[in-house]
Amino acid sequence: MTPESELERELREHDAAARLHWFDVDRRGFLKTLGGGLLVCLCAPAAPAQAPAGESGRDGLGRDLPRELAAWLHIGEDGRVTVFTGKVEMGQNIRTSLAQQVAEELRLPVDAILMVMGDTGLTPWDAGTFGSRTTPTMAPRLRAAAATAREALLDLAAQRLQAPRASLVADGGRVTDPATRQAVGYGELARQLSKAAVMPPGQGAPLTPVAEWKIAGTPVAKVGGRDFVTGGHRYTSDLVRPGMMHGKVLRPAGFQATLASLDTARAAQMPGVKIVRDGDFVGAVGPDAGTAQRAIEALGARWQVPPQPSNRELFDYLKQHAEAGDSDDAHVVGAVEQAAAAAEIKLAQTYTVDYIAHAPLEPRAAVAEWDGAGLTVWTGTQRPFAVRDELAEVLRLPAGQVRVIVPDTGSAYGGKHTADAAVEAARLARAAGKPVKLVWTREEELTWAYFRPAGVIEVRSAARADGTLVAWELHNYNSGSSAIGTPYEVANQRIQFHPAHSPLRQGSYRGLAATANHFARESHMDELAHAAGIEPLQFRLQNLANPRLRAVLTAAAEKFGWGRRKPGPGAGFGIAGGTEKGSFVATCAEVEVEAGGSVRLRRVVEAFECGAVVNPNGLRNQVEGAVVQAIGGALFEAVQFENGRILNARFAKYRLPRFTDVPPIEVVILDRRDLPSAGAGETPIVGLAPAVANAIFAATGVRLRGLPLAPYGVPRFQPQGKAAVS
């Protein structure tokens, strides 16, 4: 798959299915404010003819994308290094890992690098922070920019010091001639340039080999970490602007609802309150959030909500409302039917995944402020430029008059791609004539955000009696196509994604459909292994050639003691592995199923490999966190809904993983310094659910084929030698 088509797919899957709303930046000024110094601009690669999508010129929806710069790196006359990137920090630690890689190339400490991120008024255009793309795509560009700057500084220093260039050493913000011990600072060199020198990254600027990394590849502490432990960091929801008011929006009584009638009289009389109405969009602005909320509650609104499906008939609904699917879209190799007909072992099973919520602890929030120059919106989003464009479109402004600034955000997990709160705050602020802050409530977040797609996955397979996999057919309805293929060696395959009409608004979620597809595939592989009477790890390895996936499976099994340890009474072990977005994961889980059927995770071992590791501490944190997040989707998280209403839109009813749900998690990192670094924010999440399902089967003999596996315990479970517990 080419990088372009991969990005195209990403953008398609990452675009939330529907907007919640119905209805060229001038950088020259900015360059002036930078003053003199050295500026390296990374031009986006020229678009190939008929480029399919993405960074090469058009996005997945065919809209023209600006052909701009990928990033800027500036060295000021004071020697300060500033890097400008449209990526955003939301806990995944790229503010640190990107700074490390720039620091490495410029031979500077990390704290000498200022990262300006996710500000459409300051940073070059960027598609968004998603798809584990920062490390494989943005980091190499920043490294190239930094290496270009370093080489330019060496050129300048050779002139200045009248020294042979090859003998000069750049380190710690100075270029030194070892022979004379003369030195000159980066800032002084930059000052020699009368104006910002714009240069493309030189092809010749050598990148520091990974084997020689001193700053990159080490566990550098999180940049700005102190502000997080003091409460000093200002998230969007903490911002205050002069004269700022607080907004609330009237939410419909259900999805697809239409406003039948509205009586604003009582609310409009409340002191300090302004009611804003524009069609079915109704909001209130008040001096504080409580007043605005009381005004909303005082609105006499009646809604008409059409009948809609519920989660009880969800999977039938998705099958019935699936696109038939163009056979051109299917991945077909060999002849599945013929191969299956001749095989001794045949299996067909259906797996399901429910909708789940991202539930970022910081809900959607935005602060919007209008002035003579246009609109500025602070908001936590993964796609500041897409939000800018959406604001411009719905508010009918030129994009150049909209600036979106993303404070480091209280997490997103794929759930903050859209402009929902930003658009609402902007509309309210325009009507109020004052800056407006809007913070979604938890209930709003769990209702009006979008969800991870639910899905139905049908797998048919066949193997020879010796366990050789010969046929593999997989159909995924609605959940998505990420990691839909199989990494195992199978001569005959038919694999197809069938989009369907989703009863709920859906969009990207950490790892996209890779979680669902791994759950189906790795559960089914386990079922096949048992059908063939072959030990599950052995069965995988005997059908697997990919050395990187073999390596993580072997590493996880070794650490876990797979094959050496025996589970205790009521316990079971499960294993699963896979790959997506250039990284490889294997997970071993130990579960204990108590007499009443409730499942306790006792231990998790996860091996992960994503090429050369940039920050081992940050990576471990990501892998552990992904495993914890996966526990919720694996065992108990599910959105319940009926007739356009979410039935469990509160934390008291939507259960998330807590301290007491988390077992000891052992992470094994395979650092492949000989391979390019891949992203690591997503793929570590995919292995846990099938490992747990397989472990529950090992413990109980009950095969669970739906996520979440056991929100109310293992059904049909009868502990041996004990009476069933009601």
Binding site: G91, V229, R234, T441, N621
Partner: protein, 134 residues
């Protein structure tokens, strides 16, 4: 009150139903969910927010331990976690990992840094037992 009037924004909104712990503050040394506390219930009592833990530019040992263990990702739950951990260590200076998990189970970390938080609380417990009384 804390966030909008006093602009003590280290105390976070997470759910408004006392389920996530992002808004945890100390009321006379006890950890409470500020989103569930009426102003009248705090009258005459000492309220300590995350902003009140740092003294003369020196981090509280629990803050220092969270920083050292890097027991956060996005950091949004961190102030509530730290305040809850301060109350925990006041009541129980030497908690086991299981006790820490049980006592902090009302605080959510959606990024899943729980094991690091347990390690940070243990680190802080050691520092507070060895260090000078505050």
């Amino acid at each position: 009150m804390l966030r909008d009037r006093l602009q003590l924004t280290g105390t976070k909104y997470g759910c408004g139903e006392g389920q996530c712990g992002a808004c945890t503050v100390l009321l006379d040394g006890r950890a409470v969910r500020s989103c569930r506390i009426e102003l009248s219930a705090a009258a005459g009592k000492q309220v300590t927010t995350i902003e009140g833990l740092e003294r003369d530019g020196r981090l509280h040992p629990v803050q220092a331990a969270f920083l050292e263990a890097e027991a956060f990702q996005c950091g949004y739950c961190t102030p509530g976690m730290i305040v809850a951990a301060v109350a925990l260590l006041t009541a129980e200076p030497n908690p086991s990992p299981e006790e820490i998990a049980a006592r902090l189970a009302g605080n959510l970390c959606r990024c899943g840094t729980y094991s690091r938080i347990v390690a940070a609380v243990q680190l802080a417990a050691r520092a507070m037992r060895q260090g000078p009384a505050r």
